[in-house]
Symmetry: C2
Subunit: 241 residues, 2 copies
Amino acid sequence: MKVNIIGSGNVAFHLLKAFRDAGLEDVYSVEPHSLQGLHTDSDVSLIAVSDATIPEVIAHLPEMKGIVAHTSGSTPLSVFEESGIRNFGVFYPMQTFSKSKPLDYKKIPFYVEGSDKEAAQTLFILASLISPIVRYADSLQRRALHIAAVLSCNFVNHLWTLSSLFLKENGLDFADFLPLIEETLDKVKTLSPKESQTGPAVRGDMNIVHSHLDLLNDKPHIKEIYRLLSESIYNIHHNHE
Amino acid sequence: MKVNIIGSGNVAFHLLKAFRDAGLEDVYSVEPHSLQGLHTDSDVSLIAVSDATIPEVIAHLPEMKGIVAHTSGSTPLSVFEESGIRNFGVFYPMQTFSKSKPLDYKKIPFYVEGSDKEAAQTLFILASLISPIVRYADSLQRRALHIAAVLSCNFVNHLWTLSSLFLKENGLDFADFLPLIEETLDKVKTLSPKESQTGPAVRGDMNIVHSHLDLLNDKPHIKEIYRLLSESIYNIHHNHE
């Protein structure tokens, strides 16, 4: 299979490496502005650029023999409509990419969608070269994935940020929390997160909840988050939703 | 060292096991209501019962030779005041304990506090038998730890719960997110959580934030959390606190 990877960012960098590691020889790195290096006879061209730049790249592509797919979790398939491209799709690796860190590609789930069944299957096969976890997902499902990723990762990381700043102010070290956090993550590998829930709010221990809220009086910003999430835990677990 | 462990719950169970694994021979399991099994000549007696029950256990203790300490993260040292106990303290293992899961005790940080320096040092040495991570922390710091644990673990787990329910409704599987979450956790082992932050809110990508909020219109409960946490990320990273 011949593959163009259009882009110069983290996703492009890692996809290029992953395909080469998987033994794919005809993988071409394509500069996204000039399209230098583009092979119009490639079976698949992956547009791995920022969401905002995708329409631009699509608009400037010459006629392509194969499938053109973007790699964005938050851009619908319809971005290819009226582009004149016949075979198109989405090839979304769900992972946070940074150039400096090696990734275990075998753990990255890929979500693919195609303009037709054949396109979807080709993208599925291509993703399977890199990862054993490949799923078909339509644009709506991909949006749900993105929202869930924001909740599960971005917001989670932010709670760690708030903790680390709060601990530092109290002469304590966030690093001490890593084992506790690892244990929390380990639990959801065997139990569902709902079953794994611990803490004052799920126990309905309102004494602790209120004493924490009182202690956060000079941190209205954290206090509001504490209040809302405790309420949410209580509601989800005591069926008052 | 002779040690009483007063309690029949998860913390008592794991402490008993950890001390025995560490080669401590004179560790006694004490029934919390009858105090059956109590050795009044023990060097340390650890009260590992629910927060609400601690005062009761303290009130019923006979005169003890050694140090009496509770194991609660959220109970102040002052619970021992007016108890007549001369040497007391806190011996707080910061971890979520469940009986069914083996724990790596070497990864659990212990926070100790004593009625005097000697009591604190004895508790420090005792904790050092189990874990290499032992810190002195006063009652205020311990309250900060507890709040940070709620933020870093309980609330984090709840965000995973909300994600898993949302994914399920969309025909998707939370298990696919575990690698992404692991990667998120791996990052904060080398970078600070603040430096590790990714996602639409930190990028200031308000198009994505607003499109997600729109998609969550029929989920007001998740929408409110999404709004508040996105705002908090934006504020923390763009210095508008």
